[in-house]
Amino acid sequence: MRHRRPAWHVATVVETRPETPNAVRLVLDVPTWPGSEAGTHLDVRLTAPDGYQATRSYSVATSEPGRVVLGIDELPDGEVSPFLVREVLAGDELEIHGPLGSYFVWRPGQSGRPVQLIAGGSGVVPLYAMAAAHAAASDPSPFRLLYSVRTPAYVYFRDELAALAGPSFAVDHVYTRQAPPGWDEPAGRLTRDSLASTTFAPHERPRIFVCGSTGFVETVVAWLLELGHAAHDILTERFGGL
């Protein structure tokens, strides 16, 4: 699977269903898809009747051949995401290019060091793929996910993440707008202190994957460095935005 040359594929939408109040999960049937490493993305290319094309990148939540699951957030003023979230129907075809990227990737058996995943919103998609690959490979390295979302309704892959949680995979949530009833922390943005208390400490030498909007990633990386993590242990995937 490693170092497979990416190719263009025709994907057929099998299912589109609400994932959060402003996101869908797209399940694609792609007979030529070779499978992908956890953390990779693909490019979706839309072509208008007049030939105008727009391409955007989306992370792949799955790893097996023939089938691709995407999680897509709608940016109301966006060019591509409102189409994918609102207009696409089961049976539609999409052009996709991939699998892409071999840098922001987690591979089983690579290292026994702990792995810290840090997601903001839809940034959880590639990190969910890593957590699922970790479980599928029964890899012994300890995994932890810190997941920042607006409210409990905005959690992607809620049931799947709950099912993966166990002795070697812990999930911590930060709710920025509204916490669930009975939650012991008030809703509010992630802070450097809450980041420090819900992630592996620098002396545990975790490898850290951070993914989300560009602003989220830059804030988190600056704090991780201040807390004493080494720059070369932090891998990032910026989704865009501020």
Partner: protein, 85 residues
């Protein structure tokens, strides 16, 4: 608008090169000498095409412009790209 992405996003555009994935290749910035995977560059996708800048010194490392029938690739800010054997 100047949205900053990571060099990871170049993987699709660089897929024409003769390696399966160019974004994990290490390359040197001609300006400051930093050697790092291309995936660690700062990418501006709002410019015409994609512009990759050095994360240390902001020097332009590479630019990719889609001209319809061709794609132009400039690697003017990169010296010595390490290729797998």
């Amino acid at each position: 608008m100047t949205t900053r992405l990571d060099g990871n996003v170049l993987a699709g555009a660089l897929a024409h090169l003769f390696v399966p994935d160019a974004t994990d290749l290490r390359a040197r910035c001609t300006n400051c000498g930093r050697v790092a995977p291309i995936a660690e560059a700062v990418v501006y996708a709002d410019a015409p095409g994609l512009v990759a800048r050095c994360r240390s010194c902001d020097h332009v490392l590479a630019a990719i412009v889609d001209a319809g029938d061709k794609v132009y690739l400039s690697l003017s800010g990169l010296s010595a790209i390490a290729l797998p054997k």
